[in-house]
Symmetry: C2
Subunit: 188 residues, 2 copies
């Protein structure tokens, strides 16, 4: 989102795999112990849905044009936090970083993620972007982890409209792969 | 929330256990296939975070008093959707309705829920309500499923501040147990 808004920003490395997000200094920034945190002058914001909403308002970009449109965008942000990225991110963590291999838990998470993807698939087969013909923060919330296609252990063959939608987002000026934006990658 | 706002409202039964939420008529109201849906005149809203935000704005109640306060409330609503009610609701569903018994999946969900409850516990041991000394929609989002204390298979002994906080919410004028507000309970 920062890149797509052509914002003046830089990433700060958080040593997540060595538990930096659980240390007192970090918890002062975000008691949830999560990344990302946005620091903008005196303002400290966490939770990606809130950060996206703040950026859309600040840059007057990728938002709805009316209260009902904004509510519809927020509805998808909540859906993503509840039903999609929540499961996909955990599935990626377990299979790629915790190296649990296939378990009942990874199967459960994958089934939940696939259910959510079916809902997104229907949406983006009807319009170019999730809430209509323009990209919004709803798209950016939902798509984030889907660009780790080699890591999330989900077969995209059943989701042709999602693959095309991800392609459309990729074409937006300023787009970069998450790994190209994050310091500390590739991991040692 | 509707009760606490003394709203003129009535519940409509959705035959969830017979799949009414997956039928075409219902999906027209909410393509996510979730309850609840709020119908208010022409307006149809779904996703509880969005509904709570709409109600707080409409009734000018249980909201923040400034933009930063509102953002902090939204941050907890997202946290709840991502990390607390999401897991607690699924845990309740599996143990009480799908009758899976104890499995690796229920254990996983419980561990995640307990991690989230620890964050809430810290918060409500520092202030009467989640975002300060007044109740807001952040509290109502987080507390909902916790009143099903006999069904969520989580031991509250480790969460004394949460137990007191739930008691404080219960004392608000208009409060009623979710089961007393839902048609179709007790289930046959």
């Amino acid at each position: 989102m920062l890149n797509l808004c052509n914002a003046d920003w830089e990433p700060a490395f958080v040593d997540f795999f060595n538990g930096a997000h659980r240390e007192a200094d970090y918890l002062k920034l975000n008691e949830f112990g999560e990344v990302p945190v946005l620091e903008a002058g005196e303002l400290v914001l966490s939770q990606s849905g809130v950060i996206l909403d703040y950026l859309a308002e600040s840059f007057e970009a990728f938002d709805g044009e009316s209260v009902p449109e904004h509510r519809e965008i927020m509805r998808w942000l909540f859906f993503d936090n509840h039903k999609l990225t929540s499961y996909v991110a955990t599935l990626r963590f377990l299979t790629q970083f915790a190296d649990t291999g296939e378990t009942d838990v990874t199967e459960f998470l994958r089934l939940r993620a696939v259910s959510a993807l079916k809902i997104v698939e229907r949406r983006v087969s009807e319009s170019a972007f999730v809430t209509g013909d323009k990209p919004t923060i709803a798209d950016f919330s939902l798509c984030g982890y889907l660009y780790f296609e080699d890591e999330i252990t989900i077969d995209f063959a059943a989701f042709p409209a999602i693959v095309e939608w991800l392609g459309r987002i990729k074409e937006l000026p300023g787009w970069a792969h998450p790994y190209d934006l994050m310091p500390g990658h590739p991991r040692k």
